[in-house]
């Protein structure tokens, strides 16, 4: 019933390959039995290719309507701008999958950046040490969120709302409310017009997707997000998993802080305002459920790109900031409606 058999037909082969990539399986692991239960090809098209198509459509529209949209400079600008949001969105995807939310990422990014800037400017520490301090600051904030959520069983919304204020305050305390100019010392990271931040972001997206779909930790994350009580009654303690996810989100936020500080050549205690909402919007456009249990890192990345291209294109067309915001808001809601339809179609027996 379950013996592995070679794949015979080209369409099957294509479908199986997509299926294997999606699940992070190797191709030969798919048995005849499984192949029957595989989602059909159209489901895949709507899954990932749907997002890619939406992005392509946007690019084509702006390519024709905004004169100099297809220029290297323009793409370079977009790519650099999206890197920090992308990295934060990866962390946010994990948090949303365990049915949590992290509102503190903007402030935590400012705090981590402030630590980086202060270490370098005020204490004259070497870059490597400053980066470590910055990452530690992010992880500590994430751990604090996770500890309070798991220890006192508080809703993550409330806990991270508190952290949003706390981290912002500490960022100002650390910097004395001054922007710390670190100069070109970190040009190595910013890449001076090269696409290094973007490449880092893409690598993190790939690693994030692999962690989610191919590791034991990833499986636990989905399980906890689906039913925490079922996980607990299976003799698995859900608390370390949730703690880990919040810490991971803090860690990724700190990486984003390093990149954005390097790009700006300055640590601004007011950095990252509204970042949490941008990240959540991107993740939700990618089809991750706020109710937990379902989500994809790659789709979140598409979400970030769609928002960024939309905003860049609109401003090149000369659309003003207020109109841009109205349009972006509508796109977010439309994306979620579309996603719901997609899932209703695929939703099966009762």
């Amino acid at each position: 019933m379950c013996g592995a058999k070679p794949i015979r037909y080209p369409l099957y082969a294509l479908r199986s390959t997509l299926y294997a990539i999606n699940r992070g399986d190797n191709l030969m692991a798919i048995t005849e039995n499984e192949r029957r239960g595989m989602p059909s090809l159209p489901a895949f098209v709507t899954d990932y290719l749907g997002m890619a198509m939406a992005l392509t459509v946007l690019l084509v529209i702006f390519g024709f309507s905004a004169g100099n949209f297809f220029t290297l400079t323009n793409f370079r600008t977009i790519a650099n701008q999206v890197s920090d949001t992308t990295i934060v969105a990866v962390g946010m995807t994990f948090v949303l999958i365990i049915a949590g939310i992290d509102l503190s990422v903007g402030s935590v990014m400012a705090l981590s950046g402030a630590v980086l800037g202060t270490c370098m400017v005020r204490f004259g520490l070497p870059l490597a040490v400053a980066i470590v301090a910055c990452l530690v600051a992010g992880i500590v904030c994430g751990l604090a969120n996770g500890l309070v959520v798991t220890r006192w069983r508080l809703p993550p919304f409330i806990v991270t709302l508190g952290m949003l204020e706390v981290a912002r305050g500490v960022a100002h305390l650390v910097t004395g409310s001054q922007t710390k100019y670190i100069g070109g010392a970190v040009g190595v990271i910013a890449g001076r017009g090269l696409l290094i931040p973007f490449i880092v972001a893409v690598i993190i997206v790939i690693l994030g997707q692999l962690v989610l779909s191919r590791t034991v930790f990833g499986r636990y994350i989905v399980a906890v997000g689906t039913s925490e009580e079922a996980v607990r009654l299976s003799g698995i303690d859900p608390r370390p998993i949730k703690l880990g996810v919040f810490a991971l989100c803090g860690f990724l936020t700190a990486i984003a802080a390093v990149i954005s500080t390097a790009r700006m050549e300055a640590a601004d205690p007011n950095a990252g305002a509204g970042l949490e909402l941008r990240a959540i919007a991107a993740v939700v456009i990618g089809g991750t459920s706020l109710m937990g249990g379902r989500g994809s890192v790659v789709s979140s990345f598409f979400g970030v790109l769609i928002i960024a291209v939309l905003e860049a294109g609109l401003s090149q067309m000369g659309v003003g900031e207020p109109t841009k915001r109205v349009i972006t808001g509508c796109v977010i809601i439309a994306a979620v409606i579309l996603d719901q339809y997609r899932h209703r179609i695929r939703k099966t027996a009762t």
Binding site: C2, A29, R214, R219, T226, A230, I236, G293, A349
Partner: protein, 507 residues
């Protein structure tokens, strides 16, 4: 008790419905006369609920036509069906917990003046309906969430009865009702019959069906097997038609010789629900736990498993003198205790995930290398257990939520078998499961005991306990009332024990 009228109010022909991977209904014919109770019976997954849901507009059929009073009928939604006088009380509760009983009953048309709810009128009307279903002692202003599950079910039924209708479908209405509540429900069904309402009655309890129904239709694998007057059928006829084979009912297991004590519980306490419970279970033994609803069976097992923190008591394993510390389900599983919860959908399984991922969940370490999932190995483990338990699924990649109740329960068992515990606690494993799957589960219990596992089998169905268990422990009002050996028990003795503590200290 025969229906006086022979006027057919609903005629369904060739109804078909398929869900991905499953043909739920294939060309089913169904007639309903005014003033009759027409029972639908069949295993889970036979298509009874689907048929009723199509009639009530909850689902849409893929094939076939329906006629209501000679007019073509096709309900686009539940609300639309209701305007045509077709109502359904579904299996799952659809009450709003924070609203009161009265508000829930009249949710569709709250009596109001200028938009302000007239609570006097509302509660008055609610009391009238609640008296009919025996909820007279409940204040209509009580929030629904504070009621027990059986009472909630009665409120749901009351809400269904309160509205005018010509066809009423009841899907497993008695699943969580006591005998008294069931009697009251039957009384109401008879009243509605008298008023010419056609009633579609879905139940797993064949005795109930034979008592209340005028006609019985048996479904199997989405096909109509037969329709006959209830008077002409015996329960073994129905079972035979349902499963397509004869099933031996009595004495399913020949008791082996129980081995050493596997688990001993001493003085377990949890609030008022569990009071000083002590018992032991041996290897190779199936210990039944009987008792009425609210007798503390589930609470005892949850406390023993660490799902709820006990106030006191010791658990000893394998005849050891030193108790093990169980403060969480994790501790319990590590000590080799398994608990298959009563609420398999909410707490036992991850419904949106594949069969494979549910089975491997508790031993991911064994199907991974350095934290990296070894999916081929995971697949082969899942396939092995699917085969051993003959879980009916299109593949191990199918999501558990798509399986029928019996197959879902088998996945729960597969998951715990893979974890390989010494003591297995089954809490109502056959609840809401078709006859065929029930027998497969009884066989599994027996096989596990024969392999030297200690089994604790909690059930409300005395017949199944008596068929499978070596000993039966009867609980009453949170304490152990009596424990019977196989040669000493009888239905009457067990029921008397279950009631003993209730008589002694309450009322």
């Amino acid at each position: 008790m025969k229906a006086g009228s022979t006027e057919t109010i609903l005629r369904a022909r060739g109804i078909g419905k398929s869900f991905p991977g499953v043909q739920a209904l294939a060309g089913v014919d169904f007639d309903l006369r005014a003033g009759e109770v027409h029972a639908l019976v069949g295993e889970n997954g036979a298509g009874k609920s689907t048929l009723a849901r199509i009639i009530a507009g909850v689902e849409k059929q893929d094939a076939g036509q329906m006629e209501l009073n000679g007019q073509p009928y096709s309900a686009a939604s539940r609300a639309h069906a209701e305007t045509r006088g077709v109502r359904m009380v579904m299996q799952e509760l659809h009450l709003i917990g924070n609203l009161t009983v009265a508000e829930n009953i009249f949710i569709e048309k709250l009596p109001s003046r200028f938009g302000i709810v007239d609570y006097g009128k509302l509660n008055g009307a609610a009391i009238e309906i609640m008296e009919q279903v025996g909820l007279a002692d409940i204040d209509p202003a009580t929030p629904v969430r504070s009621l027990g599950i059986g009472q909630q079910q009665m409120v749901e039924i009351a809400a269904g009865l309160s509205r005018q209708c010509r066809i009423l479908a009841l899907d497993e209405p008695t699943a969580s009702l006591t005998e008294n509540e069931t009697e009251l429900l039957f009384h109401q069904i008879k009243r509605l019959k008298g008023e010419g309402v056609g009633i579609i009655y879905i139940s797993h309890s064949i005795e109930e069906v034979l008592r209340i129904a005028d006609r019985v239709s048996v479904l199997r694998d989405g096909r109509g097997i037969s329709t006959a007057d209830a008077g002409e059928l015996s329960s073994s006829d129905i079972i035979r038609m349902m499963v397509g084979r004869d099933l031996e009912h009595e004495q399913l297991r020949h008791a082996g010789r129980p081995g050493e004590v596997a688990l001993r519980v001493s003085g377990l306490n949890l609030g008022k629900k569990v009071r000083n419970v002590s018992f032991e279970v041996r290897r190779g033994e199936v210990l039944g736990v009987a008792g009425l609803m609210g007798s503390g069976r589930t609470e005892t097992m949850r406390a023993l498993f660490g799902a709820d923190t006990a106030d006191g008591g010791q658990v000893y394993l394998r005849g050891a003198d030193v108790p093990v510390r169980i403060r969480s389900p994790r501790d319990a599983v590590r000590s080799g205790i398994a608990f298959l919860t009563e609420d398999r959908k909410g707490q036992g399984l991850l419904l949106p995930l594949a069969v494979r991922k549910n089975i491997s969940l508790m031993r991911l370490r064994d199907v991974s290398r350095f934290g990296w999932m070894d999916v081929p190995r995971e697949c082969s483990v899942a396939c092995r257990y699917v085969d051993v338990l003959s879980v009916r699924c299109s593949s191990t990649e199918q999501t558990v939520g798509e399986l029928s109740g019996g197959n879902q329960q088998k996945v729960v068992i597969a998951k715990w078998l893979y974890r390989d515990c010494d003591v297995l606690i089954f809490d109502e494993p056959t609840k809401g499961i078709d006859v065929g799957a029930k027998f497969e589960i009884y066989n599994q219990l027996g096989k596990l005991a024969d392999k030297g596992k200690a089994i604790i089998f909690v059930s409300s169905d005395l017949k199944e306990l008596m068929a499978v268990c070596d000993r039966i422990m009867v609980m009453s009002a949170g304490t152990v009332a009596e424990t019977f050996d196989r040669d000493r028990w009888s239905r009457e003795k067990i029921m008397a024990a279950a009631l003993s503590e209730l008589r002694a200290d309450s009322v």
